[in-house]
Amino acid sequence: MILLQVIVGGLLIGAVYALFSSGLTLIWGMMNVINFAHGEFVMLGMYAAFWAFTLAGLGPAAFAPLAAVLLFILGVFVYLALIRHVMRGPMLAQILSTFGLLLLLRYSAFWAFTANFVTLPDDLVGASINLGGILVSAPKLLAGVVAILLTAGMHLLLTRTAIGSQILAVAEDRQAAMLMGIKPDHMQALAWGLSGASAGIAGALIATFFPISPTVGESLTIIAFVTVTLGGFGSVPGAMIAGLLIGLIESLSAFYFGPIFQDVVVYGLFVVILWVRPHGLLGKA
């Protein structure tokens, strides 16, 4: 029974990984640019939730959308001020621009919020729920379910709507999209906004059950890299499956080998994936 509980817990946190990783895979698949600061976006989403609760008394139903909006704006801003200019530059500039952003955001958060952990109250969402003998914490259940729905929503947005088709068209062939009257710049800014929003809302969801600190993004960025790589370049369904899988593996390795090994196993898995199946589960070879 305890094992089942570990599995359910892992899948729920994995759903949140899937959510913010889908944002990373979107911009990577579209522009061939990766965001080293993606975990920092999640961290900012967590702090947005914390301050919205602390200062204005907002609950999860209000602070999660708020975090999404704030990080959407940040995503668009980062695209317009930074990414747009380095995209066609040398590899060095592409990689270092978001790596610099990572440092700036993480250590500004240190300076602004101090290194101490803060938490939202335990009973904000509710206590544990008994699902046929398995105890599931209510905030995790809420986070997992909402994250799955939003990731699915992201997939539908990309595949079933006009704006999604325009984003995918730019990803497919920038020149051809321009000839069809699509403005690639607008679509790319939108993709960065969506990517930021996915990270922001994921952060707000995690904040309901996880301690918030400036360095929390450190492991989340790498988890997002592993998820995106395992899922396959630019694939949202891939990120969904991979996110769930990573959550499960992380949770099982923490259960069997101890908590410090959860990161070790996931990071090690990254190297194994690169050796064995670099194009991921659903990626195009």
């Binding site: 530059g89 500039a93 610099g100 300076w111 492991s219 790498i222 190297v271 690169l274 670099p278």
Partner: protein, 335 residues
């Protein structure tokens, strides 16, 4: 650039050799030694990050391997730390192969992501491994048992050892620039697909660059360990170690022989000053500063200061040539 490059080189060498003779006192000596050490690791990063254009953000893993091995040899067998130098290089080259072989077949992003993942993986493991001292780290010999321990109270002997290593590294890099490896790397950086279609074995040469870079970064780590006589996960495997190499090389000029040295000369004193003024908070401030510098560089001047200077020189020469032409035309007219 001086008209005769040899004069420039001799002047640079004279300044570097003479520096500790002019600026005495423990503070300046330690600072100078640290500048040269940072220049070694940044120049080593430059081999793969600059010349090959494969951007590593986890070079701390090689630095850390080099830093831990000498003190591990001392801890286990009371051996001379010098014997650990080759062991550190061997470990680093193995890690380089583990990272490089799978990722160099793919686009450059995979390499960058793998470097940070492996560096964090090793840092977490070492922090929790009692054999390597866990979070506390390892100590070197407290007092010298002979010259082979490389234990000196003053920073000056270390300064000259570091300077000699830097000279060797820069000489090798200079030779590499005009060798098959150097031309291949430049071709790869300019356009991987084009290089491959011209028959350059792209993945293999990127791996050579990484192995060479890893080996020298490890050597820098070993020198750090004997100088400070103490290593811990934070100061040798932490992200700041990787960041410093990146920011120094990028500020001076990535893919240029003297770029990393220039970056180290500017940034190490700056960081030491912020640490003196702000204490522990100085490290956080250095991170914010480095993050800002890295972002501004990649946005406005990815070639670094040396490229900026060259462009300025080229513009000035063009202007002077134009003035000369105008003056010449004026004289013709008068005649």
């Amino acid at each position: 650039m001086p008209r005769k490059p040899i004069i420039g080189w001799l002047a640079l060498a004279a300044v570097l050799i003479g520096f500790p003779l002019v600026f005495t006192g423990a503070y300046y000596e330690q600072l100078a030694a640290f500048v040269i050490l940072s220049a070694i690791s940044a120049s080593a990063w430059n081999l793969v990050g600059g010349y090959a254009g494969q951007v590593s953000v986890g070079h701390a893993v090689f630095f850390g391997a080099g830093a831990y091995m000498p003190l591990l040899f001392y801890k286990l067998w009371e051996a001379s730390p010098l014997l650990g130098f080759p062991a550190g290089i061997a470990v680093s080259v193995v890690i380089a192969v583990v990272i490089g072989v799978p990722t160099f077949r793919l686009s450059g992003h995979y390499f960058s992501m793998a470097t940070i993942a492996v560096a964090e993986l090793i840092r977490i493991l070492v922090s929790d491994w009692d054999f390597l001292g866990g979070a506390i780290g390892l100590m070197g010999p407290a007092t010298s048992r002979g010259w082979w321990d490389l234990v000196y109270r003053s920073s000056v002997p270390y300064y000259y050892i570091f300077l000699a290593v830097l000279a060797v590294l820069l000489y090798i890099t200079h030779r590499m620039e005009r060798s098959r490896l150097g031309y291949y790397l430049r071709a790869i950086r300019a356009g991987e697909r084009a290089a491959r279609s011209l028959g350059v074995p792209v993945s293999r040469y990127k791996l050579y660059a990484l192995m060479l870079s890893a080996g020298f970064t490890s050597l820098a780590g070993s020198l750090y360990a004997v100088k400070f006589g103490f290593v811990d996960p934070g100061s040798t495997l932490g992200i700041l170690v990787s960041v410093q190499m990146v920011v120094m090389a990028a500020l001076g000029g990535a893919g240029r022989l003297l770029g990393p040295l220039l970056g180290a000369i500017i940034l190490v004193p700056l960081q030491t000053t912020t640490n003196t003024f702000f204490g522990g908070a100085g490290t956080g401030l250095a991170f914010i500063l480095y993050g800002g510098i890295i972002m501004l560089l990649s946005r406005f001047e990815p070639g670094g200061l040396l490229e900026l200077w060259e462009r300025y020189q080229a513009r000035r020469e063009a202007r002077m040539a134009k003035e000369r032409a105008l003056v010449g035309a004026g004289e013709d007219h008068a005649a």
